[in-house]
Every structure is written in structure tokens, then in C-alpha cells.
């Protein structure tokens, strides 16, 4: 079980404050998710430099410089840069995102890729979420959109790979509060269709299912509706892509979700108190998503 927070900024003058605001939100959902955490930020120039693709990895025993050198060897002529971000390493190069992922996997077989895209940086780790946020310097991050997740592991181990968000498509993130009931079968179907999984986590199945629908050409809303049809369980999902931010709940809707919206931003969290510190929240439109309805905001 878990805590979710997400912030989609409409007002560019707030972009420099994305990390600060997200850190404040995250601090209010730690009791419901004390084990581990993950964060994703869209558009931070240090973490995902413009003009470059970025791949986020859990480096295991490799140091950041080792990662850089190994990837650079796979991409002769490309200027490969790395950022050492706590338990995560961010690798950037001015290539296509898919090409960079291929190079990373070739350079370091077995490495866990936790995110990739043009503008996305994903940071995960084990430990108390507030400590993790401090470790990676989340408060200084900038950008137009971010999601974060605090985890209380239900049926799989507490590992960095098990943390959300699951970013299994280009610039895509999924965070999940709740518990699926029939994901084991869906995982087998997706594996049979050629997908590979990084964890035993039920949420990863949700993420890869959505990624599969998006890759098949469905839009985000349709993909999430298909998920609602296929998956049993209680769940609140926050899914982001490079230019959208979407929330959906299952038909029974026992897991919490609060959305607040102003002209300057849209935010979503598991508990209202995570939204209480956002600028202008006093005059925000605050509502709870209806079951099985997809609420999506486009950039």
C-alpha cells in the first residue's frame, strides 16, 4: 500500500519550484508508505538535458563513472553524461531514447533500467522517502511535471526495482495505490507476448499493460479504460506521459484520491494534506475522481 502525489504545472513561472513543491507533497504521504520511494521529474535540465535522451538506471555495484564509460564505448562519438543521484544514475546522450536504452543494456547487461525518454528522469531507492528526497536533492529540481510515490510493500519485497513509478515506455510513468488481484495471469500473458519484467510487483504489470496498449496505438484514456476492464482489485492510478497527466480509480474506489485544480496547476494525492501547501490551494477546485472515469490533462 502506498502514497501517491503528482503535480502538473500549467504556469511556466512555477517550473523552477517543481522540486520544492513535490518535496512538500511527498513529506505528507510517508506514514502510508515508509519503505521506499520513487520520483519522476519531467524537464529538469540537469537531470534530463534538453536535446538529449535520458535513461535512468539502478547501477547496482557500478559507479556512475563506470556507467558513463561503458555506455560511451557503445556510442562512439556521442557525448555521454551521467548524474550520480543517490541509488540511481541518470545517463544522457544526444541520441534517440530507444537507441540509448539499447546502448545502456549492451554496455551493462543485467542493469535495471527504471525510466527513459526525452525529458524524463526517474529516481528510486529504498529507505525513508524524506531521506531519499534529500539524498537526490529533489527540492532543487525544476520542470513542468512530477510524480512521486511512497511505498508500503504488500506482496513483494522492498527493493529499489519494486518502487514506483514504473516507467516502461518512453517518457511514461505509472504510480499505483492499492492492490491488483489477478495480475499474475496478466503478467504471464504479457511475458508470452514478449515483454520482460524487472520485479514481482503487481504495479509493474499495470504499467506494462498500459505501455502495451499505448504502443498498440490506443490513447491514454482508452488504455486506462482497458486496464479497468481487465484488472481486478482496488486501485488508484496516476499515469503521466511527456504531455499528459491522468488519474483513474477502479469501480469500487476504496483507495483514496483527491485532485486539486487551479489555472496554474493540477495536483493529485492520496490525502488532502499533501495538497495543503500548494500555492493558491485555498481557491482550488477540489474533487475526488469518480470510479472508472479517466481524468486527463494535456500539456
Amino acid at each position: 500500500m502506498c502514497g501517491i502525489v503528482g503535480l502538473h504545472l500549467r504556469e511556466p513561472s512555477l517550473y523552477p519550484r517543481l522540486g520544492e513543491l513535490l518535496t512538500g507533497m511527498l513529506s505528507q504521504v510517508c506514514e502510508r508508505g515508509p519503505d521506499s520511494a520513487g520520483m519522476a521529474v519531467y524537464g529538469d535540465p540537469r537531470w534530463s538535458p534538453p536535446g538529449s535522451a535520458t535513461v535512468s538506471v539502478l547501477p547496482g555495484a557500478h559507479r556512475a563513472e563506470e556507467v558513463r564509460a561503458a555506455v560511451a564505448a557503445e556510442l562512439p562519438g556521442a557525448d555521454v553524461a551521467v548524474v550520480d543521484a543517490g541509488q540511481t544514475v541518470l545517463v544522457s546522450a544526444p541520441t534517440e531514447a530507444e537507441a540509448l536504452v539499447t546502448a545502456v543494456r549492451a554496455a551493462l547487461p543485467g542493469i535495471v533500467v527504471i525510466g527513459f525518454g526525452e525529458d524524463l528522469a526517474v529516481l528510486k531507492g529504498v529507505g525513508h522517502p524524506e531521506a531519499l528526497a534529500a539524498e537526490v536533492g529533489l527540492a532543487a529540481a525544476q520542470g513542468w511535471q512530477g510524480v512521486a510515490h511512497t511505498r508500503m510493500a504488500t506482496e513483494s519485497a522492498v527493493t529499489p526495482e519494486g518502487s514506483h513509478p514504473f516507467a516502461v515506455g518512453p517518457d511514461q510513468c505509472l504510480v499505483h495505490n492499492g492492490s491488483f488481484a489477478n495480475h499474475a495471469t496478466i503478467r504471464r500473458e504479457l511475458i508470452a507476448a514478449g515483454m520482460e519484467f524487472d520485479s514481482q510487483n503487481d504495479s509493474e504489470v499495470g504499467a506494462r499493460f498500459v505501455a502495451a496498449q499505448l504502443a498498440a496505438g490506443y490513447d491514454l484514456e482508452k488504455s486506462l479504460k482497458l486496464l479497468c476492464e481487465r484488472f481486478d482489485g482496488f486501485y488508484t492510478l496516476l499515469v503521466s506521459t511527456r504531455d499528459s497527466f491522468a488519474v483513474v480509480r477502479d469501480a469500487i474506489a476504496c483507495k483514496p484520491a483527491v485532485v486539486a485544480e487551479t489555472t496554474q496547476w493540477v495536483a493529485m494525492a492520496s490525502e488532502y494534506r499533501a495538497l495543503a501547501g500548494l500555492p493558491g490551494v485555498e481557491s482550488a477546485r477540489i474533487f475526488e475522481p469518480e470510479p472508472e472515469e479517466v481524468y486527463a490533462w494535456q500539456r
Partner: protein, 247 residues
Amino acid sequence: MAALSEVLYVDTVEPPVGAEPTVVDLSASDVRELNRALHAPDVAVTAPRWRVVHPDGRHSIAVGLDAEVEVEVEGHVGYYCAGMNKSASVTVHGNAGVGVAENMMSGSVRVRGNASQAAAATAHGGLLVVEGSAAARCGISMKGVDVVVGGDVGHMSAFMGQAGRLVVCGDAGDALGDSLYEARIYVQGSVKSLGADCVEKEVRAEHLAELTDLLAAAGIDADPTAFRRFGSARSLYNFHIDNAAAY
């Protein structure tokens, strides 16, 4: 049918002479301190009025009260505000999270904004007024409480409602009154769908009188004759194989 029960009238707030409210700022203090102070044995005498500021969505504000005190909360509250309330009068000038007034025994709770899920869950008595809308499972398992909602209620409201009254001035979501026992439901707007064993029933003079009292107690201006009444068909009271599809 037995005589319908009396409705608790909620007076408008008139401060006792000389009683300035005790102000608690939750950005400086904490909920545990606040609740402990509100639980003091003589609080109704020493500090009958309270103002809580900067609640900022905190949980369990003013829970377990057991005295005739008035608590005004200025802002949004988190889960279980006024949980297990007895005798006290609590007003939330904002929205309320999950389970506001859950298991209330008596007294009153008013939410000026909206209420999240499970408002007045399993409550035995007292009056909950939500001036805005309430989310799913409003009045779930109600055991005698009166709930009046100025706006809409979400799905599965009054699920397994055993006793008490739910009044909805707006619309009701799916599966209203599923598995209902003896709670009575009045809805002014539309009902998306009815739950198992919940049926529309005739509105007679005693129901109009009851509804008039409830609306007055809530301070909500609405025409009682515009409401429809819903109650249990009582066909699930003892198992019959022919009802198996309802399970």
C-alpha cells in the same frame, strides 16, 4: 409502522456569556494535544468553545469528544474528523476527508464544503450535515444517525444501512441503499441506480413531517414534497433460494 423518531434540532451558535473560544493553531501544536485537551473531564465548563486553525488536512481532529462543547475548524480536515462524537457540536469550514463523524453517537457535525467517502459510517445517532456533496458510501452501515446532504452522494451510499435517515438534496450515485435494513432514504434529485433490495416507497404524511424536521435541523431550504423515499424491500431478510441472484 412505529412512530418516527424525534429529530435533534441544532441551534445556531450562541456563545455563552463571557466564553471566548480557545484557539488552537495546528501548525504550531499537534492533533494529539488538541484531542487530549478536548477530552479533559470538565471541558464543557472550563472551555466550551474552541477554534482550530490551520488544520491543513490533518487526520483525527476532534475525535472521541464526550462533552457539550462547540468546535469550529477553519479549513480542510483529513480522515475521521469528529470520529465517535458524543454530544459535541463540530463544524468544519472546509472539506472533510474519509469517515467524517464515523460512529457518531450523538451531537452534531456540519461540513460546509464537501465530504469524502464513508461519511457518518456506522454512526448510531446525532446529525451530520454536509452542505456540499458527499462521496461514495455516505452513511455506510448507518445505525441510527441522521445525515443531510445539500449536494450529491456517491455510489453505494447507505450500503447496509440499518437505522437512521439519509436525506440527499442532489443526486445519488449507483447502488443506492444496497443491502438495506431499516434506514430510510430521501432523494430530491436523480438516483443513478438502486442497490440490492432497495426500492422506492410511498411518501406518506409522516414521511413528509420527518423530512421537514430533518431539513429544518440541517438549515437547508428545500421542498419536502420534491423528494422520493427509498427503503428495504425486506426480501433478503431470510435466505430463500429464489433470491440467490441477489447475492
